[in-house]
């Protein structure tokens, strides 16, 4: 045995300490990148998402400054230029009262987009609170809260939306006519306010479910235990540790809720339950245009195309955002 060991003479050069340059090559690591920068890198690589983002930005820009650039006001009735086809003067043409359709479509886009964004914010607030409480406390609290979500889920949404709209209209109306109603609410009008109510009351369930699922997984993590050992209150644990750790999913769901809300608003306006005249939304424009569909098809084309573009681009962008913020969800 010992003889054999001696015969295996190893080259001493193999055991020299590594030089600095050799050490440096061993330390090549991926540079440390933060969560947001990493997500942005992934998002930028996604051509569809970046294209959609560009379209969204263009539509938003048009909705904000488009009506200002136009020489006509959205409710300005131009006698003698009724039902004009698209031309240099009126790029989208005019409607049956001679109002400029370009201005009206841009105003409609403005209304639709703000409905989408405000609804997404309200949905997020309610959904996050509900989901976080349900997931964090678990047990009976969770069971009861999830059954309530199941009930909200199982009702035919559009039907309830219409019923709520009709039911809410009168109380909101009386509130707005009372003296102490704030001015900006009066400007919004009964239709829009009740749309917000309806969206906030019915569309938070997805958000709540996703937040709950995330928090169920996160609350078992050791950093939550660590906060408990330090004596952190439940509120601190939920809002300082748990919710910030599922912000990626929250953003994705909130983004995907925007087109959903826009669609509901357009649909309600289309069946005459949304914004009131002379205010325009993309849905109410489509509805007015439907009457003259055989003679003046362009009147329907522009608002309908705008709705489609907005919904499609936000949906595509939301999908890209999901892949970027939560790469594990990607197949």
């Amino acid at each position: 045995m010992t003889n054999m060991n001696k015969s295996e003479v190893l080259d001493e050069k193999l055991f020299l300490p590594a030089s600095d340059s050799e050490k440096a090559t061993a330390e090549v690591m991926r540079p440390s990148v933060g969560y947001w920068r990493d997500a942005w890198r992934r998002l930028r690589a996604n051509k569809v998402a970046m294209g959609s983002l560009l379209v969204i930005l263009l539509v938003v820009l048009a909705a904000i400054i488009g009506p200002m650039l136009s020489p006509y006001a959205y409710d300005q009735i131009n006698k003698g230029s009724e039902n004009l086809p698209p031309s240099a003067q009126h790029i989208f043409g005019t409607d049956s009262l001679g109002r400029d359709l370009f201005t009206r479509t841009m105003i409609g886009a403005r209304i639709s987009l703000s409905v989408g964004v405000v609804a997404a914010i309200m949905i997020s607030i309610i959904g996050i609170l509900y989901g976080a409480i349900s997931g964090y406390f678990g047990g009976w609290v969770d069971i009861v809260m999830m059954r309530i979500i199941d009930i909200v889920y199982s009702v035919p949404t559009i039907l309830i939306v219409i019923l709520l709209q009709v039911a809410l209209k009168t109380p909101i109306d009386t509130f707005l006519n009372s003296a102490n109603a704030p001015n900006f609410l009066k400007n919004l009008g009964v239709g829009l306010i009740s749309i917000f109510f309806v969206l906030a009351l019915l569309y938070w369930v997805d958000m709540a479910r996703i937040v709950r699922g995330q928090i169920l997984a996160l609350k078992e993590q050791e950093f939550v235990l660590a906060a408990k050992v330090l004596g952190a209150s439940n509120r601190d644990i939920i809002f300082k540790h748990l919710v910030p750790n599922c912000i990626g999913q929250i953003i994705v769901v909130a983004t995907l809720k925007i087109p959903e809300a826009i669609f509901v608003e357009s649909f309600l306006s289309f069946i005459g339950l949304g914004v009131s005249i002379p205010m325009a939304s993309l849905g109410s424009l489509s509805q007015t245009a439907l009457k003259g569909i055989y003679s003046y098809p362009y009147m329907l084309f522009f608002p309908a195309a705008t709705i489609s573009i907005i919904i499609l681009s936000i949906n595509l962008f939301g999908d890209g955002l999901r892949d970027a913020l939560d790469p594990r969800m990607k197949k």
Binding site: Y35, F223, L225, A226, K228, L230, A232, K240, N245
Partner: protein, 342 residues
């Protein structure tokens, strides 16, 4: 507090400890209710009737294989889990009965260092927020400036670069993260820290550094440690006394030198022969006791002595009677019917 000076002997043995009991654990039980796949309810007895004292200034080691209840015991003492029964008395106060508001005061005195430095730091918080959270909860900083200054001091104390305070945990290595965890634990100026395998997730080359940091903190801040580990080598180096756990019970508890010299419980004897021996000649001569089978399920533990199913010396009495946790020689506690006779 004066017992720090008494820690003079090279083995780290603390002679003054006998006087001051910091924590008394009395008949502590931690059961978990689980549902099996068939919907049957069952109880896991993760910690079952454990009694021992922790003396001020000492490092008490806790060893045992996976699933023996070491971590659960550590967490029950801190009331991370609500103990099923028994008492934990911290400087004369039974903390198992305290209401939430009163407990906060004791949260400040008892801290926990986690095994996995990757999971125990919130990935969305900067280092200064992680350490600062402890200060915020117990209102230890008087102003924003004071808070930043305290965080800087803490980071320096555990050997981290103070310029790294605004970084996120993922930018650090395992050893550095564990230092962040230590800084968070000592931020509230605790008296007692449960170290739950603080080095087992780290590179071997880093372990010694972290253990040295822990020992340095202990000396500077008069800390008492409950040191959970499955590495008997580390435990021998760091601990004054060692408790050996098996299936939710402490089977042997003794000063660490004595444990390595004169193990009385057959399970401890088997564990000690499993320590890797660097010298192959010595290793060859050594009689390794290899235990048969796996650790039994804590849902359905054996009757009598929990270790009897794997014990090479098991007799009839082991099946019938639970061995008492008795003193054999000064401060040497063993739970075995044949302690001293094997």
């Amino acid at each position: 507090m004066a017992n720090n000076e008494s820690k003079t002997s090279p083995s780290g043995y603390n002679s003054a400890r006998k006087q001051d009991v910091l924590i008394e654990v009395k008949n502590l039980k931690q059961y978990f209710n689980i549902k099996s796949s068939l919907g049957k309810k069952a109880t896991v007895k993760a910690v079952d009737d454990v009694t021992f004292n922790i003396y001020k200034g000492e490092t008490l080691g806790l060893v045992g294989e996976s699933g023996s209840g070491k971590t659960t015991l550590g967490r029950s003492i801190l009331r991370i889990y609500e103990p099923t029964a028994g008492r934990v008395i911290f400087s004369g106060v039974d903390i198992t009965k305290l209401k939430k508001g009163k407990l906060l005061h004791y949260r400040k005195k008892m801290q926990y260092i986690f095994q996995d430095p990757y999971a125990s730091l919130d990935p969305r918080m900067t280092v200064s927020d992680i350490v600062g959270e402890a200060l915020d909860i117990h209102k230890l900083a008087t102003s924003k400036k004071d808070r930043a200054e305290k965080i800087r001091e803490l980071l320096k104390l555990v050997g981290l670069n103070t310029e790294h305070a605004s970084r996120y945990p993922h930018e650090f290595s395992g050893g550095q993260r564990q230092r962040i965890g230590i800084a968070r634990a000592i931020a509230v100026e605790p008296e007692f820290i449960v170290c739950d395998e603080p080095v087992s997730a780290l590179d071997v080359s880093i372990r010694a550094q972290i253990i040295n940091t822990l020992e340095e903190m202990q000396e500077r801040l008069n800390l008492t440690y409950l040191f959970i580990s499955h590495d008997l080598g580390v435990v021998r180096h760091t601990c004054d006394r060692v408790g050996v756990m098996y299936l939710g019970h402490i089977v042997e508890l003794v000063e660490s030198e004595e444990l390595y010299k004169n193990p009385l419980h057959p399970y401890t004897q088997a564990l000690l022969t499993a320590i890797p021996e660097p010298d192959p000649e010595v290793a060859k001569k050594r009689n390794r006791i290899i235990l048969k089978g796996e650790i039994p399920s804590p849902v359905n533990p054996p009757s009598g002595c929990k270790f009897r199913t794997r014990c090479p010396f098991a007799k009839d009495i082991c099946k019938k009677e639970i061995p008492e946790f008795k003193e054999h020689g000064s401060g040497h506690y063993v739970a075995c019917h044949f302690a001293g006779k094997l």
